[in-house]
Symmetry: D2
Subunit: 370 residues, 4 copies
Amino acid sequence: MIEIPKKSKAVVITAYNKPYEITEFPVPDVEPNAILVKVEMAGVCGTDVYQWQGKLGLRPQLPVIPGHEAIGRIVKIGEGRTADSAGAPLSVGDRIMWSHVACGKCFSCAINNQPTLCEKRFSYGLSYSGAYPHLTGGFAEYEYVTPQTDVIRISGELSNEEVIGVCCAFRTAVAAFERLGGLGIQSNVVIQGSGPVGLYSTLLSVEGGAGQTVVIGAPKLRLDLAKKWGAKNVINIEEMPDPAERKKAVLELTDGRGPDVVVEASGFTAAFREGLDIIRRGGRYLIIGQSSMEAEQSIIPGMIMLKHLEIIGNASGTIRHFYKAIQFIKNKRDRYSFADIVTNKYRLDQVNEAVQAMMSGKEIKPVVVP
Amino acid sequence: MIEIPKKSKAVVITAYNKPYEITEFPVPDVEPNAILVKVEMAGVCGTDVYQWQGKLGLRPQLPVIPGHEAIGRIVKIGEGRTADSAGAPLSVGDRIMWSHVACGKCFSCAINNQPTLCEKRFSYGLSYSGAYPHLTGGFAEYEYVTPQTDVIRISGELSNEEVIGVCCAFRTAVAAFERLGGLGIQSNVVIQGSGPVGLYSTLLSVEGGAGQTVVIGAPKLRLDLAKKWGAKNVINIEEMPDPAERKKAVLELTDGRGPDVVVEASGFTAAFREGLDIIRRGGRYLIIGQSSMEAEQSIIPGMIMLKHLEIIGNASGTIRHFYKAIQFIKNKRDRYSFADIVTNKYRLDQVNEAVQAMMSGKEIKPVVVP
Amino acid sequence: MIEIPKKSKAVVITAYNKPYEITEFPVPDVEPNAILVKVEMAGVCGTDVYQWQGKLGLRPQLPVIPGHEAIGRIVKIGEGRTADSAGAPLSVGDRIMWSHVACGKCFSCAINNQPTLCEKRFSYGLSYSGAYPHLTGGFAEYEYVTPQTDVIRISGELSNEEVIGVCCAFRTAVAAFERLGGLGIQSNVVIQGSGPVGLYSTLLSVEGGAGQTVVIGAPKLRLDLAKKWGAKNVINIEEMPDPAERKKAVLELTDGRGPDVVVEASGFTAAFREGLDIIRRGGRYLIIGQSSMEAEQSIIPGMIMLKHLEIIGNASGTIRHFYKAIQFIKNKRDRYSFADIVTNKYRLDQVNEAVQAMMSGKEIKPVVVP
Amino acid sequence: MIEIPKKSKAVVITAYNKPYEITEFPVPDVEPNAILVKVEMAGVCGTDVYQWQGKLGLRPQLPVIPGHEAIGRIVKIGEGRTADSAGAPLSVGDRIMWSHVACGKCFSCAINNQPTLCEKRFSYGLSYSGAYPHLTGGFAEYEYVTPQTDVIRISGELSNEEVIGVCCAFRTAVAAFERLGGLGIQSNVVIQGSGPVGLYSTLLSVEGGAGQTVVIGAPKLRLDLAKKWGAKNVINIEEMPDPAERKKAVLELTDGRGPDVVVEASGFTAAFREGLDIIRRGGRYLIIGQSSMEAEQSIIPGMIMLKHLEIIGNASGTIRHFYKAIQFIKNKRDRYSFADIVTNKYRLDQVNEAVQAMMSGKEIKPVVVP
């Protein structure tokens, strides 16, 4: 029997643009079907930076315990929850990860079958922590997984470092590639961006039947991992800051016609303009990195029609994409060093540093180990 | 035996932004598989205006005989051409229409199976007429259909007025809707634009399984035809010039969620921004009207991702789309007054007037009857 | 305040192949999110015949209250249930219909996103009624809608007769056509079968952009409705019992090439062989009527490859398909007489007659009005 | 300047089921756009066995020069043919391969965009050789590539052994997988059959994003190559002749649910029944191996509906599939030993032996080197 404390330390946002604080919250009772976990690792994401700056569209009442990418070990499991979403049995001591919660009952969920657009979505790390069950963020000792939450058990052979990226970037990339519906056999693919979303997109491209995969990004640290993970060529935007020069380089790498598929995973609005320009006529463009509802960008809409393009936006993913990402890692871990995504580990009391490191772009994925 | 003159009158562009002239060209010999037709009717298109202004990307050596939408009656048929592309037998006296010519051999045609992107496309009405076979435009007494050209025979019960729109706007809309791959059962659709492309899109929406079809456009003349052709509601941009007000109106007509599918057929770059704004989260956006490779528009790229959109551009169509458009007319002519698209007829020597009328937007489709 | 009795009369199966009996069950307490309805109408389906004969794969412990197609008027509504699955507010006095219940948590639901294949599906009219909440079948005075059940409110202008078919045949056809992904513009469609599934498929074809829709079936009563609902031609298998002759007739109606799309909605295994034979090379085949896991049929598998076919099977549907079917009726009721599907009404004590009538094939859809 | 003889030796079929003979044909004049090649290698295919036995649907007038999979070196090139279908320049001395010829003008080609179903398809190795240009089969010293034929140049670094399979099995598998539209991320795939089509399907599965790829086939020689080419597991039907046992084995390898995708590439009609049985509910089934229009098989059609399956048949491929197969080899030749498909080489005068070897199933792909 695992001893569960009455209180759990947790990082909180009490005001935007102020240092995170550490405080204590009561450890909640576990309802039927709910799960209490001890957090083993929580990833730091670009979104954490925006959240901290108060720039996210989603701005709940404070305080909020941040951290939406977490792996936890089950310390208590509510009655009725006996298996994960893929049917694997669950018990105390198992490691799990879990998705944000779609209600299953709104128009987006029930009628449009688009649960990532759920009108009542509950998001871990992005919700008010001032009331029961409080512990809904990953930068904490304990986290509470609600009865409605879909979870995936992590099998023993996989390390936390290998799978932490599944909690956000990898499952998003999986969902996006699923929505694309197949790259086309031996398509040439350009990935814009070399952060976690860009890197997992690289893997999905390389192992999804692409011919050439080219990654445009920076800094070298990330591009080196892109190459290790199968990118045939990389273009360092620090070394090649001129989009016209990059276009020339891309054309040279794609038989002069431009890539069949472009994946926008950089987060820069200007990248969208560049993508429309480099993609071949008749190509497809997957948009995963554009997360601002405010940033404007001038483009030439005629390109979409005259180049006969298809553009697909994807936001987030569901438990099925977690599952597939985990399967990917299981099936390919003899070929790829998945743990390389984690470039640094921080304690709870170092979260301010961790988020600063993320902001600086010098790390790939820093993680918090409470 | 039909008597064929040695010379054919034809409208020509000899300089941009100058009045069209009428001149005579030699009637060419008919090669094997080629066809010589007497033009019965030639449609005037928005593209003709751009061409006349010298604003098209495609700017061949002058002189050019304009007119890319024509119906002709066969006066001579080259050896070897015995049937149309759907297998209907062809002989002198039959009426036909025909598509631009894809080479079938370039990378776009042979490898990408995207013949409207053919690198060596031959376009009627948009090609140099100074050399054999000269008569490659529809604003002329006779027109020459090359050996490689795909043609469709028009069966006797269909009037020229009913089918003239197939030559450009209707086949384009058919190709675009085919690329969309089905509207979804009882989807709500908003069509931006009420010119010929918008009107045929309205028909394809209404008869393609849409729930509500709403058309945004002007002037009233066109919107009246949209309603006659099945649009449940129309929004007149002359009466409602404020995009915010239009958005409100669209939301009211679509259960507060916005349309499942938007079709951009207006040609205004600002319409693209408006479309991104009104479409429901998770919706699809078909771009048929954006034909400028120069016009810029500021948008919010994040909308594509965060609203989880799919955007599909389509340019032009092939003979299969002509065939399907003709089938549509055959199968639905007891329900719709297809001939209403033709609002005026002009003689060859009135082409300047016809194109002015098109430019003014007061007509839907003026036609030239040589 | 509506008065709710302590007991509800209900039809039960106590042994297969024996007459249905009428007995009384306690009216259950209403849990949070559950709903108690007074049944207004319950459709009789081909499945009821199989169930009565004990031929269904699903054979729960007896007694079972049959009836899986019901419309009920809310008499009591559990706490927390305030809206239907499309967001319409729910209150006592509203009419509703509801789907079978997918668990949302099994591999089929959560990972494969195929809820009609739910491993723990709860099916109304096909479940054990010997324990709480007992009233899970439609051939009863009252029926209990469980907390997990997705429901759709029926708006006031729609009669029960118009929408009763949505509960089973229509939502199945909608789900199947959705899975097909669009008929293709002006495709020629052959529907095999003229029962409710065939008739709703006819509507979906006619209003989904088909060119010609041909229905093969019997008896004349049903084929007459098929024509009233838009079928261009019908083939009566009683008058044309020879498949070779029917093939000839179909080819004549489809330009000699065969239909682009065939929909199997007849339930006869031999129809599958016939469908493979009549479909054009390169065509698509939708299978909705083959509901036996035992009936064998000899076919030529090579046809699937050499004719380059696509075959899509679909079983059942979810609440989204109910919603779309209802939207279809709302949007098209000025054109089609949806209520014509109901050919007869029976009281609870006439269910034996009603099911016999269904078995005989002389009715289209008999209904029970308790 | 390459010297071209007046006569070319060629293998011919003069009567079915009789030994092939060797005879001489005149080397034809080369028309504009045509190409004369010296055959470097010609593959022996399962179809050659059926052709020799007179069992093919296609039974042209005899004599026929067999051999539909050939690589030739250009010895003469007709005026106007300057590049291959992907735009690579062509000249005397280059090695090429080429596809069967679709007319581009029939209903299948022009209207349905399904050129492998061309009503006037010209097939190399399967056409009458008694008249000009005679040399239309690969089992000959020289072969004539007609003006309408699409060709692909083979770049210098690729050996004939590496690419010979592209001419038939590989391009067919590419076309089939393209039609499937993506395997789905980390899907489990079962390939039925371990001949060339099965082996290339294995590669397309392994490199197309599959999770587990399981090959069912025989003999060991072929299964060993399947494993070398990435199959995680193989099931030898010689060691496990009972379908029920194989089903059990497949279920064990696919988490008890059965494969997400099954590819039928065995050619046995009974394999279709087995595939329907082992595939998971909701799965997809690709049919590439069923090439008889006569062989009957009893199945349970209800499985297609109740298991909610999608079945896709594919016959042959076009030049785009040749191109993609070649790209696959170029991009993956550092990982796979493509040349291993060729298990033996025969001279022209050994063709009887080569076809016997193919029939016996002991070889994977024997080739003829004239």
